[in-house]
Amino acid sequence: MTVLKLQLKSRFPVLTKLMAAPLGAPCTNSATLRRASPVRTVAPLEAPASLPAVATRPNVSIFGGRDAGAPRTMRSHGLVGLMSAALRIFAILACAASQAVSAAEAIIIERHSDPTKPIPISVQGYSGEVDQVLKFDLEVMGFEVVSPDKAQFVLEGSNNGAVEGRLTDRVTKSQLLGNRYQNATMRRQAHALADDVVLKVTGKPGIAQTTIAFVGRSGKTTEIYRADYDGANAVPVTKDGELVAAPAWAPGQTILYYTSYLAGPPDIYAQNVRTGARKAIAKYSGLNTSAAVSPDGRQVAMILSAAGSPDLYVADANGGNLRRLTKTREAEASPCWSPDGKTICVVSARGGLPALYLIPSGGGELRRLKTAGAGRVTEPEWSPDGRWIAFTAQWSRFQICIVPSEGGKVEVLAEGEDPSWAPNSRTLIFTRRKNGRDVLSLLDVPTKRVKDVGQISGSWSQPSWAK
């Protein structure tokens, strides 16, 4: 199903830029403006009371998190709006001579600039599940939902039959978007709106419409599941009633690799999650586990012990053309690929403690990756933009950490294990222990804010974020 979106363009795109001063603000001189005082609240830009429905071509891909292209726009005009705009222009001109500097100062004070702090946004007019989904998505993606007077951005709308929303920047007094959605569940429409807000404000694609896989355990049974990134709509991928582990997506949201003991020993399978068709990729003697697909989808790295020790191997994505990359006596584990596919980062215990090593994906020497400040290091994951490697460090507890991908100083982010990057190279999903069971949590790396995924029951672990 495709989410249809109607864009409600601001009626006065040219005039928007002139609306720099708040309507009705007194003409005070710059000395009295204090850095801490917020911009005075003004009436929000008026939107038309009802919109004629306009059919547009679908422009949001159901299985992507990215803005798929410029939507069609719609214009309408009205006298009230023109008069309101005229008043604003008059107010600006009347104050312009003495206020040019202070108007500019007022804008700079408000604009969000510290990347470690969430962006304040107000969300108004929604109810029930849509309200809940919008707020969860925005809080995961680096925003903080606050009251309107504290917000830089205001998202207002409704969900009567369809989700619609208008996003205003209180600093520039401009409408950034006005959309109405259709042809999808309300939950999905809300995710699409959240992504559109994020794209407008940050310039980067959102992740509210992305997919994860994980191991779900209930009692002694484990199965592989896939779900929306927030844990909703979880469906089983396996139904074998056998021990499973280590789900790993191929690029896209269709093919999932995982380890299963369904034939007795641990073997690697690849499964089309839509059709259910499954193929064994590695069924060698001993251990077959830790599949990691290259970013171009053509190869898979794995840990196999058939030669007598758990070592790193690479094969074509269908398992053919097997090549051995390491020949160490100690165990290797958990390979991951650089975004350009040229390097693999792998755990090795060859130095005594488990640590990270880099090796050319075509074969070569293991080179230790410096992780200063961390002790035992496992489960690396390379960010899609290539800049960071996230991993689990172990002191007395497990900690999610990142290190620059060339090695260096480690930053501890949160307590937990087994991180996986979102496509935005900003959000991590990981596992943590909560009240006696494993739950999945979402971490916004710049602000370090953590939100647990919605999870009804059981233990969820070993997440893999589809990219």
Partner: protein
């Protein structure tokens, strides 16, 4: 049989405990596992070697000297009945991460296997399987449980007649 070559000692020192016959070791770091075969040709007996479970130190796959007698005892039985095989199951406590523990469990099973080979058992009579931390012997989040979970278990395989 893998040929003679320099030992690839890379840290845990367990090769020194194998005794004089070091040539059995693949210079690349291990003894190749035999090809997979059909488990349904065998009966699996978990009780025969219940008392020979080998225990390991934290994050280690080295067989401690005090554990070696158990392996000798298993080797002795296998020598007495050449139709049998054994599967070594490697396990870990919960304190490592999931996939690292799966690899470590396998490394433990392989270390035990190397000792069996050192005792004269043919490599193709011993196979391995790792369960990582997923099949604890004792449930619990304390050292007493952890000690009992870092282990290698022997499962006797008798051919079905």
């Amino acid at each position: 049989m893998p040929g003679v070559g320099p030992n690839d000692l890379l840290g845990d020192g367990s090769l020194g405990e194998l005794g004089p016959d070091r040539t059995l070791l693949n210079p690349d770091g291990g003894i190749e596992l035999p090809a997979r075969e059909d488990d349904s040709n065998y009966n699996f007996d978990r009780e025969a070697f219940r008392d020979q479970t080998v225990y390991f130190d934290f994050d280690s796959s080295t067989v401690r000297p005090g554990e070696r007698a158990k392996i000798k005892s298993v080797a002795s039985y296998l020598q007495s009945d050449p139709t049998t095989k054994v599967r070594v199951e490697g396990h870990c406590d919960e304190r490592g991460t999931s996939e690292y523990n799966r690899a470590l469990g396998e490394r433990r099973a392989l270390s035990i296997r190397e000792h069996l080979v050192g005792e004269g058992i043919a490599p193709d009579r011993v196979n391995t399987i790792s369960y990582g931390e997923d099949r604890p012997a004792v449930l619990g989040n304390d050292p007493a449980a952890w000690d009992k979970n870092r282990r290698g278990e022997f499962v006797l395989m008798r051919p079905k007649t």
